[in-house]
Symmetry: C2
C-alpha cells in the first residue's frame, strides 16, 4: 500500500457506512462505536463532503436518523443514502407491484415459501434485494443478513436477484452525485470487505475497512478484495484523512 | 435419443424417487400419483430389482413407509435409501456432534441465525445438507426445499456444504450396492432433473424424468442435464421397461 499521504491527499468526499462503523445495533437500539460520534463531528466541521451510505433496510431513514441522534450523532435524513427509497424509484419506474419480505419476522419458512411461490408463478420473475450482505454485527453477535435469503430464493427459483444498495454501482454513483464529488475524489469507509470496500473500488473510489462491526481478521487476506487501507475504527480513519488531505 | 429398446434392454435394476413419482405429499399425508401403486407392484413382480431412493428428510423411513402403505404401495423399510441414516453414519465415523435444523418449523429466522452463529464460531465449520433440492411438490403447490437453506448458510458463512443424499455419487453408489446392480445396468426414475436425473447419470446410470411432481416443461430444455427419456408418469416408465427389457 502506498503511503497515506499519497492515497488521501486528493480526497474531497467521504462515504460512511453506518452499522458497524458509527454504531453496533442491538437490543435497545445499539451503542455508538468508541470515538465515532466525535469522528463524524470532526469530519463535518472539515472541508470534506460527507454522506452516509447504508444498506439498512429494517428501519426507515427517519427511524435510523432518530436512533443515530439519540446515540449522539449529528446527522439528518437528507445526508443518508439507503436502498429502500432507491427500490421505490425502480418499482415506480417499471410499474412493478411488490411482494415484500421484511426482516426478521418475515424470514419464516411460511413467508419465504410464499415469496418463492409468487416468483415461480411469474413469467418474468423479478427479485430485488436491498443489499446482499452475508451478515452484520449486533451487540449480541453476528446476525444473518439479507444476502443469505436472496441466495436462497435465487437458487430455488433459478434466477438472479437485482441488488439495490451496496455493492451495486448505481447506488454508489447516486450517493456520489448527491455529494457532488467524482469517484476518484471519494473514499468509502465501511466494515464489509465485499459490499463496502469491493463495491466502492469497482466504482473507482478508494475504500478503507474499519476493524469494527462485522470485521474479521481474515478480511485482511480476502481472496478478491484488498482495501486501500485498514484502520482500527472510524476515529483512526478520520485522523488520517484530516492529517493527510490537501489543505 | 436412441430407441427405447436400445436404452432399456440391459436394465437390471430400477431406482425410484418417491415424492413426485409415487405420490404427491400434502395435507393429510398426500395422494398417490395415478397409476403408480400398480406400477410399483408390476415392477416388483418383474425380474427387475427395485429400490426406493429418496431425499425425504422430514419423515423417518418408518413414517415414510407407513404413509406409502396407507396409500396402497407394497414397500418395506429395507427397500428405502434415505439421507438421514447415511448422515448418521458420517457423524459417527467423524465423531461430529450435530446442531440440527429440521424442516419446516426449524427454518425460522431465529433458528437459521443460530445455525449460522454456530458455524461461524467453528474453526473448521462442517455443514451437512440432506439433499440440495430447490423445491418439491405438494398437493397445494411447489414448496421451497432444503437446498435453498443450504445455499443461504453457504453464502453467509463462506463455506461449501457436504450434500448427503441425491445427487451425491456416494448416495447413489450405496443404493446400487444394496440392490446388487452395476451402474450401467441401472436406471433412475425421478421428477428432479438435476438431483435425480443429473446425479444418476454422473454415476453412470441412465435416468428418466417423469412429468409428475415438481416436473416443469422447461426441464426438457435444461441447459445442463438431458434425461435418457421423458415419460408422463411412473406407469408409462414401467410399461416401457417391462416391454423392452431383455426377457
Amino acid at each position: 500500500m502506498a503511503a497515506w499521504r499519497e492515497r488521501l491527499a486528493g480526497v474531497r468526499g467521504v462515504l460512511l457506512d453506518i452499522s458497524g462503523v458509527l454504531y453496533d445495533g442491538g437490543a435497545g437500539g445499539g451503542v455508538p462505536i468508541a470515538g465515532s460520534v466525535e469522528a463524524v463531528a470532526r469530519l463535518k466541521r472539515s472541508p470534506l463532503k460527507v454522506r452516509l451510505c447504508t444498506n439498512e433496510s429494517q428501519k426507515s431513514r427517519r427511524e435510523l436518523v432518530g436512533l443515530l441522534r439519540r446515540l449522539g450523532f449529528s446527522v439528518s435524513e437528507g445526508e443518508v443514502s439507503a436502498p429502500a427509497p432507491a427500490a421505490c424509484q425502480i418499482l415506480r419506474a417499471r410499474g412493478l407491484r411488490p411482494h415484500l419480505l421484511i426482516h426478521e419476522e418475515g424470514f419464516s419458512f411460511q413467508n419465504m415459501n410464499k415469496a418463492f411461490q409468487v416468483l415461480m408463478e411469474l413469467e418474468n420473475p423479478v427479485l430485488i434485494s436491498l443489499g446482499k450482505g452475508r451478515y452484520y454485527k449486533e451487540t449480541s453477535g453476528l446476525m444473518l443478513d439479507v444476502g443469505a435469503y436472496m441466495k436462497a430464493l435465487e437458487y430455488a427459483c433459478g434466477i438472479e436477484a437485482e441488488v439495490v444498495g451496496k455493492p451495486s454501482p448505481e447506488f454508489f454513483k447516486s450517493a456520489l452525485q448527491e455529494m457532488g464529488v467524482e469517484a476518484h475524489q471519494a473514499i468509502m469507509i465501511g466494515d464489509d470487505i465485499v459490499c463496502d470496500v469491493g463495491g466502492a473500488q469497482r466504482c473507482g473510489m478508494q475504500a478503507l475497512q474499519v476493524r469494527t462491526g462485522k470485521f474479521r481478521p481474515s478480511d485482511e487476506q480476502h481472496p478478491e478484495v484488498q482495501a486501500n487501507g485498514y484502520v482500527d475504527n472510524l476515529a483512526e480513519a478520520v485522523d488520517l484523512l484530516l492529517q493527510h488531505m490537501d489543505a
